[in-house]
Symmetry: C2
DNA sequence: CGCTGGCACTCGGACGGACAGAGTGCCAGG
DNA sequence: CCTGGCACTCTGTCCGTCCGAGTGCCAGCG
């Protein structure tokens, strides 16, 4: 097991490296942190840390930089979450309070996160899985064409066109609308299939085909739209990545464009609490030199979606985690209010 | 006036520079294009072109590169639009035909454009300005809370919550819904304010407040949502920009994040036909080293929105213009069909 | 008059050696 | 177990040299 001082040395290395972006040597360490020992001693500690795989030197006779494993230890044991200051918290709340609708909430959240962390922000739209149905509306656009509108308790609205197998009268439409709502309004998405199963039976034979079509469209919407959307922002911050530019940044930009990749990334993160994935811990290769800090957010106790940031492994973890947590908390509040 | 050959020299310079990304000298020019004259002659021509401001040398004794003015001349007089090949056109059509809804059309268009041009693609959502109202729906969420849903002929759906000043009965709701639709369905957005002006008069006194609120929300939606949204893609292609990386790419990324900037950019472009804005012709400073090729697209004869690409001034203009034009055309078709 | 070949000139990029600085590992002594 | 000292190694930088590409200009040719 590593001695207390060695852990301190590791912590100091991470902090300095994050700050300066340059390999840090033993002398500089003793100068900037009062460890109470000489550079030589620190060197011994560093050698030990290197043996254990927590730090590495880019080349002989350069300082050390933390490895992914080193960051992992740092995050797990050595660093807390740096809470936001009161003014910061107030600013967050004010900014988010100005939002007019769900899209706006998400858009503002992305901006905010990107600004606070100076990194790339990713915010998932509230998922439908755990949502409940607020209302289902049916509109007749043409004799055999309906529009199905689904409104969720998170304020999301989804619409679908439905081509009916047969003309569908206004009376039937009103009937279906009423029955459908009485069954599913306020219910969870997951329960809807069961609840509407026998609905066609109450209708005239000639209308059953249409009812069935509407229902299957509704179910499809519930499932399909679970492929959650997300919004990203702050890509300009990628330019602060490192010096060896195009090589590092390209795969990251590509990953960011592939929403599938990002969704998977967020999906893999733990459901509760904050998750930090460091470097190679990310399954997607293009993100091997980045870390992802993510957390779920939601209106009640349950998380309905996730948000987070993507940045270089060399990031300010305590600060980033603090910002991510704070933003998630306030977004949750906003959603609860609306 | 420039002689025919000098124009050819300019064309050759642009083509070579676009291909190689390196300043092009007189000798290389005569070798790769059979101009029928010697390097010395070309040098004279180049000196003349430089005097006129069409080309420049980064430093003494390097080759020449085109200036913005040079590209302008090239685009206006020397280069046509390179049409897509038949297989390419088929591929475009197939790809776009797979779209399931408006969002998907836009998303696919962005991907397609980015891929075809290997640049950053920008696609504006069909504007509401020239659209017509397909249907207005009102749903009662709570005794004094309505949801207003607006459906346009381009398949766009907008929704708004309305807090009523007084409870509003189901009967009144149905009445309002019917009257509203009979007046505005199929009409242009611009005409709506005039058409609903006197609507509250037909209602009971106690309902008029609510009706007025609904109407003003509707009008707000029409105006507000004219702040068009847009989608961008292919940002990874920015890495192919140049060698002097962070400096060039950063302002571009920033501009791309500011949708306002992009919308203004597209807005300034001519309404009909293809617009090419080269380097400093772009009002926004961050895009001074980029060119923007944009064109309107729409379902009928009229353009309902614009799309385009953003790339380095050193881009393949004929090819890019061909791709942009072709994509705009097919998107228009898709919209017309749906 | 326009094109051409020749020539001197300029400049940037590549190559290579010298050098300074930072950092290390190791060892002997406290 | 810590510390100071020492030799070593490597990188980054600076500088001088050289080469090649490209230019501008000029005299000559058709």
């Amino acid at each position: 097991m590593l001695s207390e001082r060695r852990l301190q040395v590791l912590r100091a290395i991470v902090q300095d490296y994050v700050g300066t972006e340059e390999p840090v040597g033993s002398k500089a360490l003793t100068e900037r942190h009062n460890l109470g020992v000489s550079p030589a001693t620190v060197r011994n500690d560093m050698a030990a840390l290197e043996d254990e795989g927590f730090i590495a030197q880019p080349h002989t006779s350069a300082g050390r930089i933390p490895t992914d494993k080193g960051y992992r230890l740092f995050v797990d044991k050595l660093a807390g979450v740096k809470p936001m200051t009161a003014p910061e918290r107030r600013a967050i709340q004010n900014f988010l309070d100005g939002a007019v609708d769900l899209d706006d909430v998400v858009a503002r959240t992305v901006r905010l996160l990107a600004q606070l962390t100076r990194q790339v922000a990713v915010v998932q739209y509230p998922s439908l899985t755990r949502s409940t149905v607020r209302h289902v509306e049916l509109l007749s656009l043409a004799p055999a064409r309906l529009m199905l509108v689904l409104i969720t308790d998170t304020g999301r609205v989804e619409q679908r066109l439905v081509d009916c197998p047969a003309p569908f009268g206004e009376a039937s439409l009103a009937d279906l609308r009423a029955r459908l709502n009485s069954r599913v309004a306020g219910r969870r998405f997951a329960d809807v299939p069961r609840l509407v199963e026998d609905l066609p039976e109450g209708f005239d034979v000639e209308d059953r085909g249409t009812v069935a079509t509407v229902l299957s469209t509704l179910l499809e919407t519930l499932v399909e739209e679970n492929e959650e959307r997300l919004m990203i922002g702050g890509t300009a911050n990628l330019t602060r990545f490192g010096h060896d530019f195009p090589l590092t940044i390209r795969p990251v930009l590509e990953a960011l464009e592939e929403q599938v990749v990002l969704l998977k990334l967020l999906g893999e993160a733990g459901d509760s609490g904050m998750t930090v994935r460091i470097g190679h811990e990310n399954a997607y290769e293009g993100l091997n030199s980045t870390s992802v800090v993510s957390v779920g957010y939601g209106s009640g106790g349950e998380a309905v979606a996730k948000l987070g940031v993507v940045g270089p492994t060399r990031m300010d973890y305590p600060g980033t985690m603090g910002a991510v947590r704070a933003v998630a908390r306030y977004v949750g509040q906003i959603l609860a209010e609306s």
